[in-house]
Symmetry: C2
Subunit: 444 residues, 2 copies
């Protein structure tokens, strides 16, 4: 950030969770960024020469970590928070989710996403993924204007005629090629067949071919529930992931697979053999929908890259990656009866640099010279973070999303002292309720 | 609360999660309390006559629920937050926990507990249980002075000579009889053999006899880890709970058993047959230590009373019952692959009225005429609670502990607008760090 003759910004007096291999944590240090890029990260205090003609932010003991990366979501559904819980999956979908979504219009989707983006920034997420089928251009415009980093894709369900499939695919390609790299590179795009159970293999093949042609990574839902795996086996004789491999969809292609709850040894082997395939673990959504507990420990042992996602508020019911990070660590320890499973450092990596890798965003995920300045600051002056000695532990096991105080993307402040800079929080609340009530009226 | 000539207090313009069977939720209502007791709860707005000569608190749309009840903890260990994580249980205990505890002195334990009590009030807990062996009188004095409701007990480990056992028992009885009912009834006491694996049957029998004599309920750890159950079987041939039953410890006695992670059908049958035996479920601590996932769904189906506990910050690492309530609900759905397991209402009951029953505190746990005025108020004006229609759902699936704004115990405010009234937050933070560093120095 250049402010009137100043060349860049130094943040001093902070503890830094860098995410770097060599020096993952600096207890007392500072870092400099200019034009949206981190220039240097160091221990100690900057010299008088270093702070000459530079904007200086005194962190006063705050903790800095890379902005978190939410690798699976459907922001357009955010008015559905609490609309329905505690129901069997099929009734939940067919009686509650789909009827509401069927009544949603452009305005409702817009305000749902405004709420979601703001909620994510508030709890320290700087990059999010949106996989949805409605009004994607509106979202891309909002991202350009309001400052977060986003990976966007027009999700495609193929349970329709081939001409309709082609229409959707054309829309997805147009969206992806139009917006990729926009917002000074803050927007990137992917291609997204919705899921193996909603897209016949012929349609996925068309999508994969287009992704190759325009050189984009792919995202899909994979093995979220036992039932979808069983039905795939009934129809095709194999697990959907095995099917993907047999059909040649995985080879040398960058895939991000959301959920991966129900994988056996054969499927884990496939992931291990395909380092271009990444997993978005969504522990709280998987629990809430009764889908199950993904075998994260086995994936880690095989060197599979795992990152974190919230899924939508309809099945979570929040977009707070701090909790997702905590539950990813706790849940695995309890599931495999091993307190050493998913240690704090691993959980932090899953919420940051693993996500960057999974979204093909080498420019973010760590606090490191040359990376874009996407970072968050946490004020440890609260009771539940005392004694405040153990920063890495507290970030995973004790932090609340509400402890995040400042959020920067490309060096630009999106939140300072818990106040959003590019969203009007009061208006967001009003609009979310107004549009939720309006759609509920339409349902009557 | 009587304020200069006024007769009681009315809280109006609030949504009320009453916890009552008949009317569990009032969307827009008010309630009155006087002399620490709830006088009336009603829908709508109070009439001019009702608010005459009464202090009126305008809730302005806040949500009211019964104060939460933390039914298992060791506040004295609160300086140990983040001191050690991600280690095998035995190294964690013998290399990290016990050496630190061995160096703790009266001052350190006092400040640990001050931190813990304040942290619990901040996140909406009005009643806590303390099971610990050090400086219990100090804690009782602090509770009398600083206002929360507490169930206190001098925990006893019996791996020592019989004369030492008798000494501990005498101390526990003296503490329990001295303080029971103090603080205008805010303090009650229990008798607490630490665990079947640390107390030989002969010692537990002595404790049980004393509990009968002074008419107090009992608390112990039960079947927290697979290993302790296996070792009990090796020594005594049976599961520790079966052993308790065979020895006649359970019959017609009020027990609260912490954890109960490793129970089979036989042990669940025993719980079902003993309605005086209650279970304190500590999901996050059980996950973090790699102990496992308690079979809560089976317990609920059998009508066993289950409440919630955090355990200590050494194994959690926070004292926030909001998260415990959420994880209790989510974890069970995921563990039994059923999204209908532990619905929101059940999770709220576990955090409130089930806890009251388990601690033999019929005077709290619901917002209801005749109960003590222990309640909390939540401001829904935050992004992660929008749309704000679905109050019960949001309390379990979206709330953060930091959303709690006001906390009352016996009608006295312990927190107003997020500001603690009987603790100095800045001093607590300073002391916690100073004493943590001091004990660490002693360890060197």
């Amino acid at each position: 950030m250049d402010v009137g003759g100043v060349m860049g910004t130094i943040v001093k007096n902070v503890s830094i969770v860098t995410g770097q291999e060599e020096a993952p944590f600096i207890r007392h240090g500072y870092f400099k960024f200019a034009d949206g890029v981190i220039v240097s990260v160091a221990e100690g205090t900057p010299s008088p020469e270093e702070i000459d003609r530079v904007e200086v932010i005194d962190g006063k003991g705050k903790w800095v970590m890379p902005g978190m990366i939410n690798t699976h979501g459907h922001l357009g559904m955010s008015l559905l928070r609490g609309h329905s819980d505690d129901l069997p999956l099929q009734s939940w979908l067919s009686e509650k989710m789909w009827p509401f979504e069927g009544k949603m219009d452009r305005e409702a989707v817009h305000h749902a996403r405004q709420l979601a983006m703001a909620e994510m920034i508030k709890s320290g997420t700087t990059t999010f993924l949106e996989m949805y089928h409605l009004y994607m251009d509106d979202l891309a415009e909002a991202v350009v204007e309001q400052g977060p980093r986003a990976v966007l894709m027009r999700s495609m369900i193929g349970l329709c005629s081939e001409s309709e499939q082609r229409e959707k695919l054309k829309e997805a390609v147009t969206f992806a090629t139009t917006w990729n790299g926009d917002g000074n590179g803050r927007i990137t795009t992917m291609m997204a067949p919705h899921a193996p159970y909603t897209c016949p293999p012929s349609f996925i093949e068309m999508i994969v071919d287009e992704a190759d042609r325009i050189d984009l990574p792919l995202h899909t839902h994979m093995a979220e529930t036992q039932r979808e795996v069983e039905e795939h086996r009934k129809t095709y004789g194999v697990h959907p992931l095995v099917h993907f491999e047999q059909l040649g969809f995985l080879k040398d292609r960058h895939w991000l697979l959301a959920h991966c709850v129900h994988l056996g040894e054969e499927e884990l082997d496939i992931l291990e053999q395909h380092p271009c395939v990444h997993v978005s673990h969504n522990p709280m959504s998987n629990l809430k929908l009764g889908s199950g507990i993904a075998n994260v420990q086995s994936m880690l042992e095989r060197g599979i890259n795992i990152c974190l996602g919230t899924d939508s508020v309809a099945s979570n019911n929040h977009l707070d990656l701090v909790e997702e990070m905590r539950i990813a660590a706790l849940l695995q320890k309890g599931a495999v009866l091993d307190p050493t499973a998913v240690p704090a450092e691993t959980a932090i990596a899953m919420a940051t640099k693993n996500g960057a890798k999974a979204l093909r965003l080498p420019q973010v995920g760590t606090i490191e010279a040359g990376k874009r300045a996407d970072f968050i600051m946490i004020d440890p002056q609260c009771l539940h973070l005392q004694p405040h000695e153990h920063v890495m532990s507290h970030l995973v096991y004790a932090l609340k999303g509400s402890d995040v105080q400042d959020v920067f993307v490309e060096g630009a402040p999106l939140m300072l002292n818990k106040e959003l800079k590019t969203f009007d929080e009061e208006k967001l609340q009003f609009e979310a309720n107004a549009h939720y009530q309006r759609i509920c009226e339409k349902l009557k």
